[in-house]
């Protein structure tokens, strides 16, 4: 009996399969590359030969692509990332009181007290405090993002880099590069800029108390962990499956949902061969001009999103 959890994020699509005791059996990490359905199909390829449909007791989705993933998969639970991350962290440690999560496009802070989410915040309009910012700078420095943390730890001098906006930071960084500063000092400066930005923007006014969990893709960067510990002056824990927490949360939530409903909607692993086509068009029936996305599976419409009046999205109810 297994539970499937999928987190379709902006940068990565994470898939986990957990057993009844919430131990991870499988964990697949793929890049979304802007094509969520393809990423899910790719990610599930290795599952088909190993597991049958009946072994999957429940399936859940989360992440910014959770709706589309839910339709493709036949999900039992479709939840936002905040709840999924909180549920997964609490499964890991009941005493966690702060979760800092930095992903590709989003950064969030979740405040918990006695195992209940009491407050949360997400980055507003700008993505400067997120992983894509580091990704971009790694590309510019021609250093693999995986090695970023090690470089940062080698730094001996603290170098200040503007953190308010990714564009400002980039020009600030280039100026310092041109002056010949050491790469590891620059990378450390970038980590500190990101931490400063995170604490000033997302973490503003929030009561950050330990135990603190640091999760999401950026938690792989030990330089970031160290920068957080310096700024907060306390220990920051990176859980073992830091980059799979959303997916684990989705699996737990799916388990709860099926325990209530009694049966799963999961369609089975055959979906990896099916042809999914999504089309978008502008509905011209009223001045709202909604952008509607229509999803077809083997030629059948399985769902629509994006319309305001329910004329297209309403069909979803019939087919689900």
């Amino acid at each position: 009996m297994y539970y499937l959890g999928i987190d379709v994020g902006s940068v990565s699509t994470d898939i986990v399969l957990v057993d009844e005791n919430m131990h991870i059996k499988e964990a697949v990490y793929t890049r979304t590359k802007g094509r969520p359905i393809k990423a899910i199909q790719e990610g599930l390829k290795s599952f088909k030969s190993k597991y049958t449909k009946n072994e999957i007791y429940a399936a859940g989705t989360t992440g910014s692509g959770r709706q589309i993933a839910a339709m493709v998969l036949g999900a039992d639970a479709t939840k936002n990332e905040i709840t999924a991350h909180a549920v997964a962290a609490l499964q890991n440690d009941k005493d966690v009181r702060t979760i800092m999560e930095i992903g590709g496009q989003d950064s969030k802070i979740i405040i918990l007290r006695d195992g209940i989410v009491t407050d949360f915040a997400m980055n507003t309009v700008c993505a400067a405090g997120t992983g894509s910012f580091l990704d971009r700078q790694a590309e510019r420095l021609e250093i693999p993002i995986e090695d970023f943390g090690d470089y940062a730890l080698k730094s001996t001098t603290s170098l200040r880099i503007a953190g308010r906006c990714a564009v400002f930071a980039e020009s600030d960084m280039i100026h310092k590069q041109q002056l010949g500063y050491d790469s590891s000092d620059i990378i450390n400066g970038l980590c500190e800029a990101l931490v400063r930005n995170y604490l000033n923007n997302v973490g503003k006014g929030k009561d950050i108390k330990s135990k603190i969990f640091f999760q999401g893709g950026v938690a792989a960067n030990i330089g970031m962990k160290a920068a957080f510990e310096r700024a907060l002056q306390c220990e920051v824990c990176v859980p073992e499956h830091y980059n799979m927490m959303g997916a684990i949360g989705a699996a737990i939530l799916a388990k709860e949902a099926v325990m209530k409903s009694g049966k799963t909607n999961f369609k089975g692993f055959d979906l990896i061969q099916n042809e999914f086509i999504s089309r978008s068009f502008e509905c011209a029936d009223c001045p709202n001009n909604c952008e509607v996305a229509k999803l077809e599976e083997n030629g059948f419409v399985i769902g629509c999103f994006g319309d305001r009046c329910g004329k297209w999205g309403g069909k979803l109810v019939v087919n689900a």
Binding site: S64, N80, T83, Q105, T118, F120, A121, M122, K206, N289
Partner: protein, 365 residues
Amino acid sequence: MKITFPHLGNAYLGVKALFDGLGIDYVIPPFSNKTALEIGSLHSPEDMCLPFKINLGNYIQSIEKGADTVIITGSCGPCRFGEYCELQMNILRSLGYEVDFIVIDAPKEIGINTLLQRIGKVGSSSTKNRYGKLKAVRDGLKVIHMIDAFEAKVRDLSGYEINKGECKNLLNSCKKDLLKCSAPSEMIELIKRNEQKLLQIAIDKHSTPLKIAIIGEIYTIIEPFSNLYIEDKLMDFGVSTSRKLTPSWWIKDMVLKPLGLNSMDIKRASKDYLSINIGGHCRECVAEAVLAEEAGYDGAIQIFPLGCMPEIVAKAILPTISKEKDIPIMSLVVDEMTGEAGFVTRLEAFIDLLERRRQNVLSRN
């Protein structure tokens, strides 16, 4: 003279009743949409706030439909809104649109004579006699009050409805039908009929839906396109919402201001946190958070456009209120993005938070 005006929630219905009554030709701009935003941001200063851009899009879309006079409300006020009319006039003229502007501002700012003269300019193209004009004004006010009140009732009841979507459909069909009316009296009758229909909707009196107050910057909370239709989304989630700021609230506030009798509740509620008016609707926002807690709401959502000075001040005050009054408040910033995924995530997470709070000891119930 063919008059147009920017959209602000239900304001177009009141304006329609007024001009239908006066017998003046007018153009209602197409509902704020992506095209309006695109046109607006193309011609606006990049750093400008979102309402400015949508306004400008509204004007240009109306001008293309034949409007030659724009009515806007001014506010020589202490936030960027105070510059809107001058800047918008400038931009439209430099784009080569030959349009007249009539700026309606508070008598305190421009003098009662100027105000009357400006209003007279509108009235002069009406063929109605003095009584007819007064009646038109009265009907216009009545329509805006009735529709705002009706909408508030619908949004509150939607959390209790048994058949999901009934309230939303009623509200949408009511607004659609109102646009087809040709006389103010028809509009008033239609709203009355819809009020009756609302009473027929099956509700579960024992259900306890989440209640959320929508607070923040006046334009972005009233104009649904600018906040990605947050109230409709919350309706779909089965949440009851309330919003104090409406076009009719604004009119009442304007009228009572010279007497110092406006917004007494707001002045009282904001007293402990922000005792002076710092511009925009900052004080209202702070007060509404306090009032929401007093009225037993589960939470409040603050919405404001990127870079809005008064609301940034409010945002800094809200965490204190949230902590002292024990009411969750979430701030959402809106700008030119129309991608809804991130927005919905925040809403869902906030609703989750409120629900779990209720189930727990932390709950006030």
